[in-house]
C-alpha cells in the first residue's frame, strides 16, 4: 500500500515518526506552512521556517525513504499581526522554488478583514505562479467560514479544480462537493474527523476529489491516521483501487497540477493514475532510496 499524506507538519514531528510512517506505507508528504504553537513576531522568523521546509525537512524525509514537498503561505492567524503580514512581500520569490507545489495554508481563522486581505492576495499569487491552493477552513464557526471561503475563491476567478478546501466534516462537505473544489479531511485522535466517520462520508460522496490527511503537528495528532483510514476503508468493503485513489492518486493529481511534483517513479504518479505500479515493487524502491548515499546520512557532523 502506498500512501501520500497531503497535509502534515513534519517540522513538529520526530525522526521516529518518519520511520513509523514509512513502515505504514507513507512514501510522500506535503507540508503546508502554518502557525507554530508559539506565535511568530517578525518576518525573519517566517523566512527561516520557509527555508527549513525547502531544505532541512525534505533532506530529513529522504533519509527515511519519504518524498517531501511543501506549500508556502502566510497563515490566517498570523495574517492578523501587523508585524508578520509583511512576509507577503517575500512570498513571490519563495513560490518559484522547485519543491513548492501549492500556496497554503491560506483562508480564515477568526474571519477578520486582515485575514481576508491576506487570503485574496495569496489567491492572486497562486494564479501568478500557476500553483494550486490549499485552503484551511476555520475550526470556530466552520460552516459559515467555509461558505465565505468558497465565495472568496469564486470571486478570485480560480478554477475550482485548482483548490483544495481542507478540514471538512459532515456539515461542510456538501457545499464543497457542489463547488467542484477538492475536499480534504483531517483525521485526528479527538477532534476533526475519525476513520469511521471518514468511511461513512466516502460511501456517501464517493472517492473522487476526496483527500485524507493526518494534519499531524505539535498538538494531539497522529501521522499514522492516513493508514487507519485505508484499513477502515478495506474493512468496510472498499477495494484496494479505491484506497489507492484516495490515499495516493488524488493527492498526486491535485499537487501534480503544479508541474513540480516529483514522486519515486517506482511508485507511479498522478499522470499514470490508472496504472498499478504494484505496492510491493513500490516498497522495495523506497527501501533502496533509504540506502542511497545522497540521502542516507542521519549522523550529524
Amino acid at each position: 500500500m502506498r500512501i501520500f499524506d497531503p497535509h502534515v507538519h513534519m517540522t513538529s514531528r520526530t525522526t521516529d515518526d518518519y520511520r513509523r510512517m514509512y513502515d505504514a506505507g507513507v512514501r510522500a508528504v506535503v507540508e503546508p506552512a502554518f502557525w507554530l504553537g508559539q506565535p511568530r513576531t517578525n518576518v525573519g522568523s517566517f523566512l527561516d521556517y520557509f527555508d527549513a521546509l525547502l531544505g532541512w525537512e525534505p533532506y530529513r524525509a529522504a533519509q527515511h525513504g519519504i518524498r517531501h514537498h511543501c506549500a508556502l503561505a502566510l497563515n490566517p492567524k498570523e495574517a492578523n499581526d501587523p508585524r508578520c503580514a509583511p512576509v507577503l512581500a517575500e512570498l513571490p520569490r519563495y513560490l518559484l522554488k522547485d519543491s513548492v507545489v501549492a500556496v497554503g495554508e491560506v483562508g480564515y481563522d477568526s474571519m477578520t478583514p486582515e485575514e481576508e486581505r491576506a487570503f485574496e492576495a495569496q489567491l492572486a499569487l497562486a494564479q501568478d505562479n500557476d500553483l494550486p491552493v490549499l485552503v484551511h477552513t476555520p475550526h470556530r464557526d466552520k460552516a459559515e467560514g467555509t461558505r465565505r471561503t468558497l465565495e472568496v475563491v469564486r470571486a478570485a476567478g480560480l478554477p475550482a479544480g485548482r483548490v483544495l478546501v481542507d478540514h471538512l466534516n459532515e456539515l461542510t462537505v456538501g457545499m464543497v462537493a457542489d463547488s467542484g473544489c477538492w475536499m480534504g479531511f483531517s483525521i485526528y485522535p479527538d477532534t476533526k474527523m475519525d476513520p469511521g466517520r471518514m468511511v461513512t462520508l466516502l460511501k456517501e460522496y464517493g472517492t473522487d476529489r476526496m483527500l485524507v490527511n493526518s494534519a499531524a503537528d505539535w498538538g494531539r495528532s497522529d501521522p499514522l491516521k492516513t493508514r487507519e483510514v485505508a484499513d477502515a476503508m478495506l474493512a468496510a468493503g472498499f477495494g484496494e483501487d479505491d484506497v489507492d485513489q484516495v490515499l495516493w492518486r488524488n493527492p498526486a493529481a491535485f499537487y501534480g497540477q503544479s508541474g513540480r511534483l516529483h514522486l519515486d517513479p517506482g511508485l507511479g504518479s498522478g499522470s499514470e493514475a490508472g496504472s498499478e505500479a504494484g505496492s510491493e515493487a513500490g516498497s522495495e524502491a523506497g527501501s533502496e532510496a533509504v540506502q542511497d548515499y545522497a540521502g542516507n546520512t542521519i549522523r550529524r557532523g
Binding site: 531544505g55 520569490r93 518559484l96 519543491s99 546520512t297 549522523r299 550529524r300 557532523g301
Partner: protein
C-alpha cells in the same frame, strides 16, 4: 511553460548578461524550465559579481546552494566567496558539506576550517574521495585528528572506516 525548454537557457543567459539582478527570478526555476546545467550557465553569465552571487546563495534552497557551491571555482572569485563555503559546512546536509569541500573550498578554506570539514565528512559518512585536494592539503595535524577519532571509535567498539584507516 509556454516557452520551449531548448530556448529557455539561452534567453535566460541573455537576460542576466543585460541585468545581473534578473538572475534572482530565473535561477530558482532554471533547472526545471531550462534543464540540467542551466544554473551553472546563469552563474557564469554573472562574470564574478560577488554581491549577486552571495545574495543568490542566501536566498537559495538546497538545490540552488548546491549549484552555486559546485560552480564557485569557475566564477573568477578568488577567495572572496569563502564565507559561502563556511556557511555550507555549518549545515547538516551531506550534499552541501561535500560540495563545500570541492575545488573552491580546497583552494581557499583556512587549514583549520579545511581539517574540520574533512573530519565532518567522516562523521557524516561522506567518502573522503569526495573531498577535493585532500592529498595536497593533508598534514600532520589532520592525521592526528583522524587517528584520535579512530581511537574513539575503537574504544566504543565501532568499526573505523577504511578511508580513515588508510590515512593514519
Amino acid at each position: 511553460m509556454n516557452e520551449p525548454a531548448r530556448e529557455w537557457p539561452a534567453s535566460a543567459v541573455r537576460q542576466v548578461e543585460a541585468d545581473p539582478h534578473a538572475i534572482h527570478r530565473l535561477f530558482p526555476q532554471a533547472e526545471r524550465r531550462g534543464g540540467p546545467g542551466t544554473r551553472r550557465a546563469l552563474l557564469r553569465a554573472l562574470r564574478g559579481d560577488l554581491a549577486v552571487i552571495r545574495s543568490l546563495y542566501e536566498a537559495g534552497d538546497s538545490g540552488e546552494r548546491l549549484a552555486i557551491l559546485t560552480a564557485l571555482h569557475e566564477l573568477d572569485l578568488d577567495g572572496t566567496a569563502v564565507a559561502l563555503v563556511e556557511d555550507a559546512l555549518r549545515t547538516n546536509d551531506a550534499r552541501l558539506v561535500a560540495a563545500a569541500l570541492g575545488p573552491y573550498g580546497s583552494a581557499w578554506l583556512s587549514d583549520h576550517a579545511y581539517r574540520q570539514g574533512v573530519l565532518k565528512c567522516v562523521f557524516m559518512s561522506i567518502p573522503l574521495t569526495a573531498v577535493a585536494g585532500l592529498e595536497r592539503r593533508f598534514d600532520a595535524e589532520l592525521a592526528r585528528m583522524l587517528a584520535d577519532y579512530a581511537a574513539e571509535l575503537r574504544a566504543a567498539g565501532r568499526p573505523v572506516p577504511a578511508d580513515v584507516l588508510e590515512r593514519i
